[in-house]
């Protein structure tokens, strides 16, 4: 059973100081919101995914959250396409608009905004899992403690991250255990009713585990009033300084662009699918 989200390896990402990855994460998150231009998140995503694929290869797609991302992207894009009030120009297929009862027509401006937002969410998402997938929980906790957060809070964060895969495994067993009792899940009503036999054991189990964990920690002198020593020491190398400089320069570059040229959005001139990602009308 896998008990952490961490995927072992020896890539550049794995060797970086966790604090560098935190700076990277924050820079990636900030950068995608400076301009209203989908090219920035696209570039950020491309860089992050390339690094991730080198670091953890195909295992990236085994992560439950990564598998869930397409649903988020579709939901955000479609919802904004229909309901975002910035929308003016209906999307026409031939001569007929895409229309939903009550929601009305899908608009190019709304869709542009939806795509932008979905790309921003994906960039933020990939930036966050870069940290979690390539840093051992121990290093992550000591890094959080090193940036000035009290150690008990840092380890609380580390432990809750480790809870995710444990809970996933637990939930899988409980589903099986209830199926063995002929749990009915044929239609929506039965599926909703089936949540009780699944949720109760999961909740009770996690409460019991929390209690046990607390006692185990105390039994092992966690929080003793002494200065902690570290088994694994994390420190900055040249590559860390280089990368942090690069991220900061990237942010400064985007801010300059914003001040000089505005938000660089072409929301109101989108008229085609590819126009959502590239200013087609300008290159013409």
């Amino acid at each position: 059973m896998k008990t952490t989200l961490y995927i072992p390896g020896n890539s550049i990402l794995h060797r970086l100081d966790p604090r560098t990855k935190m700076v990277w994460m924050v820079c990636a998150m900030v950068s995608v919101f400076i301009l209203n231009n989908p090219l920035v998140p696209l570039v950020v995503i491309a860089v992050l995914v390339t690094f991730l694929l080198v670091a953890v290869k195909g295992k990236l797609f085994e992560n439950a959250l990564v598998r869930f991302l397409p649903i988020v992207i579709l939901t955000v894009t479609i919802t904004h396409g229909f309901v975002n009030p910035v929308g003016i120009t209906p999307i026409m297929i031939g001569t007929s608009p895409i229309e939903l009862p009550y929601f009305g027509m899908m608009k190019w401006e709304g869709l542009y905004y939806g795509v932008l937002l979905a790309l921003r969410i994906s960039a933020v998402f990939f930036a966050s899992i870069t940290l979690v997938l390539t840093t051992t929980p121990e290093d992550l906790v000591s890094a959080i403690a090193k940036i000035g957060i009290p150690y008990s809070y840092a380890s609380m964060f580390g432990m809750s991250l480790q809870m995710i895969p444990i809970m996933q495994e637990e939930a899988r067993i409980i589903v099986q255990a209830q199926r063995a009792r002929a749990l009915r899940e044929n239609n929506l009503k039965e599926k909703i009713q089936a949540l009780v036999p699944l949720f109760v054991p999961l909740a009770v189990g996690s409460m019991q585990r929390t209690e046990t964990t607390a006692m185990v920690l105390e039994a092992r002198a966690f929080g003793a009033p002494v200065k902690r020593t570290e088994l694994r020491v994390i420190k900055f190398n040249t590559i860390d300084y280089v990368l942090i400089t690069a991220f900061v320069l990237f942010i400064i570059f985007l801010i300059v662009l914003r001040v000089v040229y505005g938000d660089l959005s072409w929301m109101y001139s989108v008229r085609s699918f590819w126009g959502l990602f590239w200013p087609v009308h300008l290159s013409r």
Partner: protein
């Protein structure tokens, strides 16, 4: 009578086709992580059997039994339950024939009272209310659960909770009861009750399959043993036959129960090395002294 008949047939382990409950053919199971958990498994479970599946942690025991009611689907091969392919039949349907009691009762129990817990499976099977109450009543009597009826399952001791979990599956009336590690975390008293319950279920005509590490418990309750090691079945036969197979025991890192080891050491004095319990030992010693 039934158990006597069965004991006489101990050496004949291949159940004839009409009486086969579960038939496993060329089963291979590969987990999504790439772990090959089961390789080329061929086994069948007949009606009215007491079968123990033994082996080290990670040898594939639980993975194998989870195929018996469709909780896991084979990567290759087929599993037939009363002739029905588990790939094409839902676990909820197979649950009528195959009952599976999980290792940790906390994964199975969720109701506010023990009585509700017993009704849950029966309701899922869509039985009429009077039939449900009838079956619940029978189960309560057989498992001697009267004192616990209105108690919250989570406030019971681990042993009693295990018993409730077994009863909740038994109430559904399956012909095959699978018990995964029934003795883990059980004290002597609970184990004794568990032994009685297993005996009772067997007497009522069920087949019992249990996964266990506890060799004296296995020796006491099983007529047939399957030994698994590194995803393969390395032995399928009677317990006395198993305990003299040193190669199998080494492979699976098993030791016979102490009483069997003693009988093997005393075989030079004419004691049969196939002794499984104290009563048999006593009669063997009596015979030799006479």
């Amino acid at each position: 009578m039934i158990s006597n008949n069965h004991k006489n047939n101990k050496s004949q382990f291949i159940p004839d086709a009409a009486r086969t409950l579960v038939q496993v053919k060329d089963l291979v199971h590969v987990y999504p992580t790439g772990t090959r958990a089961l390789e080329n498994i061929n086994v069948s479970v007949g009606e009215h059997e007491k079968l123990a599946i033994i082996g080290q942690n990670g040898s594939g025991k639980t993975t194998l039994v989870k195929h018996f009611n469709g909780l896991l689907q084979p990567t290759e091969g087929t599993i037939l339950v009363h002739g029905a392919d588990t790939r094409k039949t839902r676990t909820a349907v197979l649950a009528k024939t195959v009952g599976y009691v999980f290792q940790n009762p906390n994964h199975q129990l969720f109701c506010v009272t023990v009585a509700e817990e017993l009704r849950f499976g029966l309701r899922n099977l869509r039985l009429p209310p009077d039939e449900i109450e009838q079956k619940v009543k029978e189960t309560i009597e057989l498992f001697k659960l009267q004192p616990y009826l209105d108690v919250h399952p989570y406030s019971l001791s681990m042993g009693a909770r295990k018993l409730v979990a077994i009863a909740s599956i038994f109430a559904m009336g399956p012909q095959l009861m699978i018990l995964d590690e029934p003795t883990t975390g059980q004290d002597y008293e609970s184990k004794k009750i568990l032994s009685q319950v297993i005996g009772m279920m067997y007497e009522s005509g069920k087949s019992i399959v249990f996964v266990s590490h506890d060799m004296s418990f296995v020796a006491e309750h099983a007529d047939r043993a399957i030994v698994m090691s590194r995803a393969h079945i390395v032995f399928d036969g009677s317990l006395p036959d198993l305990f003299i197979r040193q190669d199998v025991l080494n492979e699976a890192d098993l030791r016979p129960p102490h009483i069997t080891q003693l009988s093997q050491r005393l075989s030079d004095y004419g004691v049969s090395p196939r002794v499984l319990n104290v009563a048999e030992m006593v009669s063997e010693v009596r015979r030799c002294l006479a």
